[in-house]
């Protein structure tokens, strides 16, 4: 973990409620896809956890949805604003668990951490199929970004306004993707349905309300098959067989 002051380099809407923010500064603690950062915001007591969408030397990309006071304040941050961020939090995805063909499944704002994961898997010479689930066409973001880095992209919308009509599990069933390992992030019902729908192994990223985000308060503990775990420290990524639904 490292506390750094990062500068907002860009902050733009991808959909009416989902924004992409680029930050510049010391990103040296950010090393794995699936990790997260915690942002300190004016007038708010607790920091806000947001997944790392992408990063490279000196640059960090976050994608977030406006759902309350904190994310609303984030959307209003002007280019050049400096913010206090805890970086390098959480365990992240393990790309070595996939041999040749990965299935990545994202629902809503569970999509962002899969972007860097895709880049890493492709750089390791693996084939990547990404299934992105949204409620409606107007909420879709990043589908083209995934295509540009070489992933096969399948979009599902609950109302059928674009791509396959239904949930991500419907899309997986209909397209019959032949994968050896899956990675997923999204709402809990989606993660559960996905785990039940496939007998293949996988890693899933969970969300929990957090106090600190770095393992000292026990605010985000969950029971797993291998004992009590902190979502912020041992997680947020857990193996499928560890999760007790």
């Amino acid at each position: 973990m490292k506390r750094v002051i990062l500068e907002v380099a860009s902050n733009r809407p991808l959909t009416p409620l989902v924004y992409e923010m680029q930050l510049t500064g010391d990103t040296s603690a950010v090393t794995r896809p699936g990790g997260f950062v915690e942002i300190s915001l004016d007038g708010l007591f607790l920091r806000r956890p947001i997944s790392v969408c992408d990063f490279d030397d000196g640059r960090l990309t976050l994608v977030y949805k406006i759902v309350g006071k904190g994310t609303e304040q984030m959307a209003g941050l002007q280019v050049g604003t400096k913010i206090d961020v805890l970086t390098g939090l959480g365990n992240g995805f393990d790309t070595t668990l996939c041999h040749s063909h990965a299935l990545l499944v994202g629902g809503g704002v569970g999509v962002p951490p899969l972007y860097r994961l895709t880049r890493n898997l492709i750089a390791e010479g693996k084939q990547v199929s990404v299934v992105l689930g949204f409620n409606t066409q107007a909420e879709i973001f990043y589908a083209d970004e995934f295509r540009k880095v070489g992933a096969e992209v399948i979009v599902a919308t609950a109302d059928g306004s674009q791509g396959i009509k239904g949930f991500v599990t419907d899309a997986i069933r209909q397209t019959g993707i032949d994968f050896d390992y899956f990675y997923a992030c999204g709402p809990l019902p989606m993660l559960k349905a996905l785990s039940e729908a496939t007998d293949k192994p996988g890693e899933l990223s969970l969300e929990e309300r957090m106090g600190c985000g770095f393992g000292i308060c026990m605010g985000c503990s969950i029971q797993t098959a291998s004992g009590a775990k902190r979502v912020c420290k041992e997680g947020p990524v857990f193996k499928k067989e560890d999760i007790i639904w």
């Binding site: 300190s40 708010l44 007591f45 607790l46 929990e208 770095f214 308060c217 605010g219």
Partner: protein
Amino acid sequence: MVRDLSVELCGITLDNPVIPASGTFGFGEEMSKVYDLDILGSISIKGTTREPRFGNPTPRIAECSSGMINAVGLQNPGVDAVIEHELPELRKVFHKPIIANISGFSIEEYSECCAKIDKAEQVEIIEVNVSCPNVHNGGMAFGTQPESAAAVTRAVKAVTTKPVFIKLSPNVTDIVSIARACEEAGADGLTLVNTMLGMRIDIMRRRPVIANKMGGFSGRAIFPVALRMVYQVAQACRIPIIGCGGVATAEDVVEMMMAGASAVQVGAENLRNPFACAEIIEQLPKVMERLGIERLRDITGIIK
């Protein structure tokens, strides 16, 4: 001029009065990677119970204006594992006396837990949580009646020769009567205060934010209430007080001490700013200089 930050608790000298509060610093392992823990006055470890506890279901955390609610429910690996694993690990990264915070759900649990942790060499003070509002049938009840608080105090004193600090609950009508009962029962000191029972509702989903419905409110918002209780008790008792509740700055430390505290604990602020204690310790000499304080311990209880 060299400013003297050292303070004394029951004959134990601390290099400075700043102590991370129980439950907001784990057992030190994670924090040892954030800064050198030896800058701290002491550390109060996560509340330990006789048996291991997972604690409450999630969500356990709710944000509030200038504070937060927690309903962790005393998650800890149990006193045996704490002695076998956590304390030796802590010893590698922290080379000063520590405060062992213990909890229980019956008088026997308190005394058994205390008897065990008393044997750990690095433990120099035992802090007894009689106030945790998270657990349905325990903590809260002991700390809300003078008789039961005194009973816990006597039970714990009977099994240790180390100084015992009773950590009181602010969720009472008359903190002074409970503090006095503990002092009369043999307490060597008091920690004031634990969290205040609070609640938040998610108005969109129409349900409490916290799975357990209620939890302990703490952080900057509770500072004036904690300070007032420290002051009231300091007026009525002779034993030393560790002030706790909403402390976030070096000025807060000075204020707590002026109200009657001999040392100070920092809780929820560590969660939002992992460097909180380090920054307070760094600022203290500057604040003392500005206020013309040479020896920090001299200001304890100067407000009459």
